[in-house]
C-alpha cells in the first residue's frame, strides 16, 4: 500500500481507497473514475499530478493525491 502522490510517473496503479473526509472531494474524484478497484495511469507528477483513467485525463493537486491510497 502506498499513496498516489508517491507513485513514479509512467506507472499503472490500482486504487485501493480514498482517505478524504470531504464528501464533495470524494464524489468529484469518483465521478472521474477514481474509485477503489479502478486502474489509473500516472502520466506526470509535476507541475500537478496528472492521471489517466480510461480515456479521461485528470489533473490533481498534490495534496489531494495524498488522500488516494493505491496498492
Amino acid at each position: 500500500m502506498s499513496i498516489l502522490s508517491d507513485v513514479a510517473a509512467g506507472s499503472d496503479v490500482r486504487v485501493a481507497g480514498l482517505r478524504s473526509t470531504s464528501p464533495s472531494r470524494v464524489s468529484r474524484l469518483t465521478s472521474f473514475g477514481i474509485v477503489p478497484g479502478a486502474w489509473v495511469h500516472v502520466v506526470a507528477t509535476r507541475p500537478a499530478v496528472l492521471l489517466r483513467c480510461g480515456n479521461t485525463s485528470v489533473a490533481l493537486d498534490e495534496e489531494i493525491a495524498r488522500e488516494v491510497v493505491v496498492g
Binding site: V26, P36, G37, V43, P47, A48, N55, I64
Partner: protein, 615 residues
Amino acid sequence: MSCSCEPLSAEMIETASQQQPRRMILVGNANVGKSLLFTRLTRRYVTVSNYPGTTVELARAKADFCGELREVIDTPGTSGLNARSDDERVTRDVLLGNRDADVILVGDITNMRRTLLLALQLIEHGIRFVICLNMADELPQSVPDLSLLSSRLGIPVIAASALREWNLERLKRAAMQPAAGKVRVLYGSEVEAAVADMNGVTRGEALARLEEAHALPIAAARHAAVEQLLDGRGDEHAVSGFRDALGRITMHRIWGVPALLFVLFIGWLFVGKLGAGVLVDFLQTKVFEAHLNVWARRLVDALVPVHFLRELLVGPYGLITMALTYAIAIVLPVVITFFLFFGILEDSGYLPRLAVMLHRTFRRIGLNGKAVLPMVLGLGCDTMATLTTRILETKKERVIVTILLALGVPCSAQLGVIIAMLAPLGARATAIWLFVTIGTMLLVGALASKVLPGESGDFILEIPPMRMPKLSNIAIKVAARTEWYLKEAVPLFLAGTLLLYLLDAANLLVRLQRALAPLVVGLLGLPAQSSNAFVVGFLRRDYGAAGLFAMQRAGQLSPTQTIVALTVITLFVPCVANFFVMVKERGARTATAAALFITVYSFGTGVLLHAILGS
C-alpha cells in the same frame, strides 16, 4: 438531411412556436460535444437566457424532429445529479422540473464509463431518455456493436458524430421514443435500508440525499455496475499520437514553459501587432481621421446651425469625433482579435493545460489552476470575467479573483492602447510596467489570501484532448462576445464624452483640473490636462487610457510621465459596468471596499513610481 418524413418549413416552426412545444433536454458530462450537437440539431432560432436566479446560461431553440416540433434545451455539463455547483444545480432542476420532457443523454463514445455512470443516475430518477454516444469520429476503429449494451440498459443507444453530422437523423428518430431503463444498482444493506426508510421520494432522490454520507459505497457500486454492463471491456485509447504528444508537452514541467511563451508570442503578434497595431492604425488615421471625421464635420457644419450642438457632435469632445472614433477605431479591432485568439485557445483545449502550468503560482495567492479561465478572459473583458468567477468553488477565491481582475488585468481595449503606448518607449518601460502589474497581482493576491477568511477550492480538473478548433464555432462565439462588449462599452463611451463635453462647456473641466492638480501635477508629475483621462477613467479605464494615448501622440507626455500615467490607469477600476457587476456578484460592501482600495493603491503606486523614476 434525409428525414423519412416531411420536414417543417420555417413558417410552420414560426407559427407552431405560438403554442408550447414538447421539450427535448440535452444532458451530459462536460467536453462531450453537447453544444455542437445542440447547434447541429437546431440550426436556428437559438435564444440564450439566464436560468432564473443564476448567471448560468441555458440555450434553447425550436427544432424539427421528423415533422414534430420540439423545444431543445442545452444544459451545462454535469458529472452527476447531486448538484455540487451552480451549473449542476441548474441541470438537475431543468431535468427534474420537466418530468414530461424527452431527454437525450450525450456522451463521449471513447469514454463510455462516465456516460453510463450518468445513465444509471437518470434511470434511478425515473427519467425517460435515449443515449447518444457522440464523437464517433474520434474512434480509432469502427463503431462497436451497441445493441447488447442497449438491451441490457433498456435504453436506445445511438453512436453519432456531431462534427461529421453522422447518424443525427437516426438519433432524432430514436429520441422521439425514449425509455425508462431497467437496470437497478444494489448498494449494500446499509444504503438500501436508508433508501427504504425514505418515503415519498424517488429512488434517485433518496440516493442523492444519501451521497453526502455514503459517497464512496454508492460510487463503488455504480462503477461495478458499469463494468458489468461493459463486460469489463476497456475504453479504447482514442487520441492520436501527435495530439497526445502535443497535449503533454504543453503541460510538461519544463517544456510547458517555452510552449506557454510561444502561445503568448503568437497572441502578442495577433492581438498586439495585427489588432492594436496595423488595424487600429488603419482605422484611426486612414478611415476616421482622413475621411469619416472630415465628412462628419462638413455634414454637421452644413446641417446643424447651433454652435453648441455642432460641438457636441464633432468638437474636441464630440460624440462622433471622440466617442465613436475611440470605440470603433481603437477598441473594436483589439476586442475582435483578442476574442478570436481566446476562442482558439478555448476550443483547442489549451486553457486547462495552462491551468495545470499556473496551478502552483496561483496556489500562492489563495487560488488554484481553475482561476486561469476568468483571469485570461479578463484580458478580453473584466466585466464578463467577473461573471465567470462563479466557476470557482469558494467565496474566498471569487473575491480574490474579482479584486485581481479589477486591479491588475487590463481588458483587451485597454491592452491595445497600452501596447500602442509602450511600443515607442522600448524594453525598459515595458519591463517596468510588467513588473509593477504582475508584482501587484502576486502581492495583493498573497495578502488577500492571508487576510480573507475561508478556504480555497479543490484542484481536480479534467484535461480534454487537444482538438483542432472549428472556425464556425469560434466565429459564433466571437460575434456573441463582441456584441456583448459593444453593448457594454459604446453607451459608456458616449456617456463619458457627454460628461467631458458638459464639464468643458460649463467651464468645470478647468476647475476640476485645478482641483486635481496637487495630486496629478504635484505627486504624479503629470500635465494638468491628464486629469481628463482620469475623470473618464472612472467610467471606463480603457477610455482613460485612450485619452493618455492621444496626449502621448501629441507629444504632451515624456517617456517617464507615460509610464507613470499608464501604470495608474492600468491598476484603476476597469469601468462602471465592472463595478456594478462586482456589486451584483459580491455585494455592495465588498465591491465598495475593493474599489476604494484599488483607487488608493493605483494612485499610491503612481506616486511611488514618480518618486523613484523622477520626471
